[in-house]
Amino acid sequence: MAHIHLGEGSFPLWALALWTLIGTGLIGVVVYRIRKGGIETRQIALAGIAGAASFAVFQLNIPVWGGIHMNLTGLVGILAGPLLGALIALVVNIFSAALGHGAVGLLGANTLVNASEAVVAYYAFRTLVGLDWDVFPASTGAATLGLSAGAVLMGAIIVVSGVNGSALPRADLTVAVAGLVGLNLGVAVVEGLLTGFVVQFLASVRPDLVGLVDRLGRDASEVTA
């Protein structure tokens, strides 16, 4: 439940079209940049691994508040960088939608939410590490921040779209959605903490994976440049 994936048919048709368009635009830009910068087999493989991790970890039921599931989007962002992170968000959403976790029609909206989580987590992590934070607090903070950003964006998307078939005024809808976002912020903290432990562990056991982080970061910024 860490990521409220909006249910199928929740939005009116115009909103569905809008988010699909924006989502497609985002992926288009990402694909263009990656193609321009070139990509190695190894990086594709890493993206596949990160996507699979994010997808598989969803199977683990974490017994907090009646059970939450994670997507590790923050971790994915930190490990794979913003560009691959966005692609992974798309891919994971496609597979999730096929298994009833998310929505086919809202792939655009959900991809925007998850991509923003990965991207924010990545840049927050870079910044915090740049400020000489330790790996653990930096990754915990970054993941929490990223996931919170995602939750807020999700709330905004719902409020802008309005719920299909609801006559509720936007103001009241905003109140309801605010409650939902608040709950998600709590989940963001749990997942942020776990992400922190995982990144710390990876950094201690396989320092070269941190090297991988660096290398990918460089590759990504080269692509961006």
């Binding site: 939005f11 199977q59 039921n61 298994l99 809808l173 432990f197 562990f201 056991v205």
Partner: protein, 267 residues
């Protein structure tokens, strides 16, 4: 241990490869087309009764395809959670006639309204209709066909990432499952999160680590069999036969027609 509220991709694949149900023989493109039509339908249809009927039809398709109904109920948990978290509050907030007695709270009277209940049901039917069909499609379309369709629909390099994600998911799940098993076999307790958060972190960390390494080896072994960054799309999903094409075209026409009529009526 692992959640049984989430479909296990291995189980889904096992059903898909069985190829013994009627839906197994339907062309994958047709199934994809129907998913699109259903998404469109649940978005534009705004009557609870029609939505309920649509859901009933899809459920019937699921059951006649020979797929497990009991599991489906458990798999509904996650989509229902999404519905409850969005539509739950709305059921109370929606303006309209309250059902039963109102509950007095400091914020004023709170109760589920008829409109709220209807909205809740509508959202439920919308979501479950598509979920049920995509699950049915996933459980009746073989791996190579899924891979082919993904490769056709997605642009480079998204298709490659998707194909590898698909493959590595199995590795990840196995790794995760093995580690959970090993931890539990030595008395590890996964029932209380806060006092075991380090264990969770360790399991996740080890999962990442071993899966990364397993996946690295997997890439090596794929390269040893001629892989060079391009997962060849083997098999070939032919175009759907005429009657299936007509079915898909028909369903889009029906949805659009319905939308036109209802909109016309509204206008």
């Amino acid at each position: 241990m692992l959640s049984n509220h989430v479909p296990d991709p291995r189980l889904v694949t096992a059903y898909a490869e069985r190829r013994d149900g009627p839906l197994h023989h339907v062309n994958p493109w047709t199934k994809l087309g129907v998913v699109g039509a259903l998404v469109l339908a649940v978005t534009v249809v705004d009557r609870a009764a029609v939505l309920a009927g649509l859901y009933a039809v899809v459920l019937l398709v699921y059951v006649t395809a020979g797929l497990p109904a009991g599991r489906l109920l458990r798999w509904y948990t996650v989509p229902m959670l999404f519905i409850v978290s969005v539509a739950g509050p709305l059921a109370f907030l929606e303006p309209g006639t309250p059902i039963g007695g109102a509950l007095a709270t400091p914020l004023g009277d709170v109760s589920v309204t008829v409109a709220g209940l209807v909205l809740f049901l509508e959202l439920g039917f919308r979501s479950l209709t598509v979920v049920t069909f995509t699950l049915a499609a996933a459980m009746t379309t073989r791996y190579s066909d899924v891979a082919y369709v993904l490769g056709r629909v997605l642009p480079r390099p998204v298709d490659q990432v998707a194909l590898l994600t698909y493959r590595f998911t199995f590795v990840m799940i196995e790794t995760l499952e093995d580690l959970v098993k090993a931890a539990v076999a030595r008395g590890g307790n996964l029932s209380e999160f806060w006092s075991n958060k380090r264990l969770y972190a360790r399991i996740l960390g080890m999962t990442m680590l071993s899966a990364i390494e397993r996946a690295e080896r997997l890439v090596k072994s794929m390269e040893a069999r001629g892989y060079d960054g391009d997962l060849t799309l083997y098999g070939d999903v032919p175009r759907p036969p005429v009657h299936e094409t007509l079915l898909v075209g028909g369903s889009y026409a029906a949805v659009l027609g319905y939308a036109a009529i209802t909109t016309g009526v509204v206008l």
